[in-house]
């Protein structure tokens, strides 16, 4: 191997590196884990579609050397559902942020999970709207400081894993960007799984969120994950809290359920047979 070529170079689009993300941002680690998972399971990259919404992590779809969609704000899951139903052979992965998936696109998320559409959702949770200047969002922890909550946040945050589990997702996990091995294993698992799968990744955002919350560098935020993270596989996602003292991570749900596209195609077949029989 030559000294100036990274082993993942062929999974990254030509001329797109270096990416736009800040120093200390965890989005690059999610991209790294995702391409490592693609490499490890030796999946045909022409059969993978990466769909992303608006936000810092939305840029990710432009960096992977797969087919990709960079969609309108909050509608990544809607586009992904369309792509999946049009061509069921595709592996459709939605990689987007917490604001995009749960504030603007909240309804798309819960209903795609309820229908069990066969798409894989990876959500980068950085606790705020990073790209637009650090406004508070649906995942900002209580009492956290952001640009629009200068006296501390008084709204209770969403528990994303509990929401996904309650909406009917067949695979639910949460990791931080420090758990690179477990995150890669999770991504590998969902790429080989059928049904609505959800992975929440807690991401450091030192420039926008961290420095207003006494964690000014990426290393400080990663050290917070290191000391606070507690792995509890197969535990109740309702109790998976995120607080300054404790971040409960792990693989919460891994189940099987008939998918929407499977049921749809089955019904189409039955109806077509009935119509032919009547003629």
């Amino acid at each position: 191997m030559s000294e100036d070529s990274h082993p993942f170079e062929r999974f990254l689009r030509d001329g797109m590196m270096p990416h736009i993300w800040c120093e200390g941002c965890g989005n690059g680690i999610i991209l790294n884990c995702f391409v490592r998972a693609l490499k490890d399971i030796e999946i045909d990259v022409n059969k993978v579609v990466v769909v992303s919404g608006i936000g810092c992590i939305g840029r990710l779809s432009g960096y992977t050397n797969t087919d990709s969609y960079h969609t309108t704000h909050g509608r990544a899951i809607a586009f992904a559902t369309g792509a999946k139903l049009a061509n069921p052979e595709l592996k459709t992965v939605v990689i987007s942020g917490d604001g995009d998936l749960f504030a603007i696109g909240g309804n798309h998320f819960i209903h795609a999970a309820r229908r069990n559409v066969d798409i894989q959702v990876i959500c980068a949770n950085n606790f705020n709207y990073g790209m637009t200047g650090g406004q508070y969002g649906p995942t900002t922890p209580l009492k956290a400081w952001t640009t629009t909550t200068p006296y501390g946040n008084i709204e209770h945050p969403f528990n994303l894993v509990h929401l996904a589990a309650a909406s009917g997702a067949v695979y639910v996990a949460r990791w931080t960007t420090l758990h690179v091995r477990r995150l890669t294993e999770s991504i590998k698992k969902v790429l080989q799984k059928e049904g609505f799968s959800f992975i929440e990744v807690i991401t450091p955002c030192p420039e926008i969120y961290g420095r207003r919350n006494k964690m000014a560098t990426g290393i400080e935020m990663m050290n917070w994950f290191k000391t606070a993270a507690e792995i509890r596989n197969a535990s109740d996602p309702a109790e998976a809290e995120i607080s300054p003292e404790k971040i409960v991570v792990g693989e919460f749900i891994d189940a099987e359920k008939p998918t929407y596209d499977h049921l749809l195609r089955e019904m189409m077949k039955q109806v077509q047979e009935r119509i032919r029989g009547e003629k």
């Binding site: 191997m1 000294e3 100036d4 990274h6 082993p7 993942f8 170079e9 990254l12 590196m17 270096p18 990416h19 993300w21 800040c22 120093e23 200390g24 941002c25 965890g26 989005n27 690059g28 680690i29 991209l31 790294n32 884990c33 490592r36 960007t177 420090l178 690179v180 091995r181 890669t184 560098t217 990426g218 290393i219 990663m222 050290n223």
Partner: protein, 92 residues
Amino acid sequence: MPLRLWRKPLDSEKIKIPEGEVHVLKDRCKGCGFCIEFCPKEVLEQSEEFNIKGVHPPQVKEETVCILCSFCEAVCPDFAIFSVKKDCKGGC
């Protein structure tokens, strides 16, 4: 558990710890320092030189202690560092 009570794995003599070689793509580094902070063997350190972005990229402090865990490669957000198995021409 106290250290003296740790049992030695039965195959510990057969298993050879691999030796790694770390490569840094200096101009891609943004200087977040994750690789230096989280290397379990403390192989890396910050260098004195500046790269094209004006940050100090990591450099290898002690190459002989690298065990090829590739954590630096996995945790790098900028695809700027990777490790490969050491070329064993001399027999290692």
